[in-house]
């Protein structure tokens, strides 16, 4: 599997990309008449795959739509898809019939046999949630014209986990919050998030750690509110607060502790330009500081898009794909350091 471009959601062309890197809208749907994935047997899971493949590929959902049968894909390909946020870790690592359909531009992906039969998501740069909502609705309507979804008048779209029931919608944004991290305010955000019924997760979503001060923030309420209501609250009330909170933290650092700030930023550049062994997590953390430095105009001469690109390229599957070989962990650290040194020299 080969992707020639960085994920389109990883560009700095979207609105508000200063703090919000990318956003995503995901719908959970189940096909009526089948048990949910966790309770289905492999024959039923294969039948779900067959139906989904037939419907998804026969509809004109997007240009260059392709189908990946994950049960027969090498581990590195599955990790590559996960690093590009096209499949979840759960789907990458499961051991039963499952697949993903991805649009040519990688903005649409439809996971089959994840926790629910279908998990369809659209991704975009910056904070363009409204457009994504329109897009996912088109996809949902098109698929729904061919399939009956499990739905009840009281509970709405029925999902395997009752915490997703109702609209079955997850609005999420990937936020870069180095200011809150450096000022130690990130824990306050986590506490506030609970009051706002938000989940704050790591770089790869559920069950993952934050890497390089990147956090995925998403809604937890899915019942009793229309999709448009949920979107409006998330986009107009919640996100601006978090963005302002981060920008305030960055401003505090500039005003009250510029020496510390410059030290962290330039130390990061120093290590990235001279290290000969570099772990993925360390690379993400240092690139995050560089991104902050560029955004605060305290670093010059390093291209922001190059840094964004590196955030993806330093990850294990991408690194091995660019080298064209499987590497052991030591070889990966060496290759990663070389890649970063050359890119930033």
């Amino acid at each position: 599997m080969k992707f020639s471009t960085p994920g389109p959601w990883l560009s700095d062309d979207g609105p508000d990309t200063d703090v919000v890197m990318s956003c995503r809208v995901r719908l959970a749907r189940n096909i009526a008449g089948f048990p949910f994935v966790g309770r289905a047997n492999d024959a039923q899971r294969r039948e779900i795959l067959r139906i989904a493949q037939q419907v998804v590929l026969s509809l004109d959902l997007a240009d260059g739509m392709f189908w990946v049968d994950l049960s027969h894909s090498p581990a590195r390909d599955r990790q590559l898809l996960m690093e590009r946020h096209l499949i979840s870790r759960h789907l990458a690592e499961a051991e039963f019939p499952r697949a993903v359909a991805v649009s040519g531009d990688e903005t649409l992906s439809i996971m089959v046999n994840e926790e629910d039969h279908l998990r369809m998501q659209v991704l975009g740069p910056g904070i363009g949630l409204s457009d994504l909502m329109d897009r996912i609705n088109e996809v949902d309507d098109a698929i729904e014209s061919r399939l009956d979804f499990a739905f009840s008048q009281r509970w709405g779209y029925l999902t395997a986990c009752p915490t997703n029931v109702g609209a079955g919608i997850r609005l999420s944004v990937m936020m870069h919050l180095p200011g809150l991290k450096l000022t130690g305010e990130i824990d306050r955000l986590r506490r506030a998030a609970k009051d706002l019924h938000l989940a704050v997760r790591g770089y790869y979503g559920e069950g993952s750690e934050s890497a390089g001060d990147f956090y995925q923030v998403s809604n937890q309420i899915t019942l009793g509110r229309s999709e448009q209501d949920l979107l409006a609250e998330f986009r107009d009330r919640i996100l601006p607060q978090i963005i302002e909170y981060e920008q305030h933290a960055r401003q505090m650092l500039v005003e009250r502790n510029p020496t510390l700030l410059d030290d962290r930023i330039n130390r990061a550049v120093g290590i990235l330009r001279s290290a000969h062994l570099l772990g993925a997590e360390e690379a993400m953390k240092l690139l995050s500081r560089v991104r902050l430095g560029i955004r605060l105009k305290r670093l010059h001469g390093i291209d922001l898009n190059k840094v964004n690109h590196l955030l993806l390229q330093v990850q294990s599957a991408h690194l091995q794909q660019s080298i064209g070989a499987d590497l052991n962990p030591d070889q990966r650290r060496e290759a990663r350091a070389k890649l970063v040194r050359e890119a930033l020299s």
Binding site: P35, G156, Q220, T222, G224
Partner: protein, 186 residues
Amino acid sequence: MNPPKCDHCDEPAVVHEVTLKNGIKSEIHLCQEHAREAGVSMPTHQPINQLLSQFVISHSAKARAKSKKTCPGCGMTFGRFRQSGALGCADCYETFEQQLAPLIERAQNGATHHRGKTPVRAGSSVDRQLLITQLVKELDQAVGAEQYERAAQLRDRLRDLNPGTAGNGPGDRGRTASSETAPTDS
């Protein structure tokens, strides 16, 4: 082993406190009502997962009594759901509705009904009438039981479904809706 009952009544205990002092162990078990009286407050904001597992655990006595019920669609039991956190099929929502409803309500900040998108296939007039009938029944029950918050939510749902049914009095809307759309079996 049966779960401990409340120290003051026969209700299952949901608050448990075990203290060790000078090597002597003492235990306190309270039901929700007596815990409230004793001033033990439950934290209001918790991660959903924690909330769900606590809620499921605290209701385990009731749940156990009902857990013999098996979903006709997939053979799932509520006990198994409690362990895995995932339901087995769409029918589970109906089979375990009584146990699931309070759990979902708490996880969803008090919401009890879907108000979002409806699939075109589910929005047929027959379904709509059935839904209205059901809502009207529930509204009557809620008003009868003086559950005004729930009644207000049901009324909102009815209004969304059919603007023509909106009256002014608390009971009027329900009756208007039932007489205009689908007769109830009262």
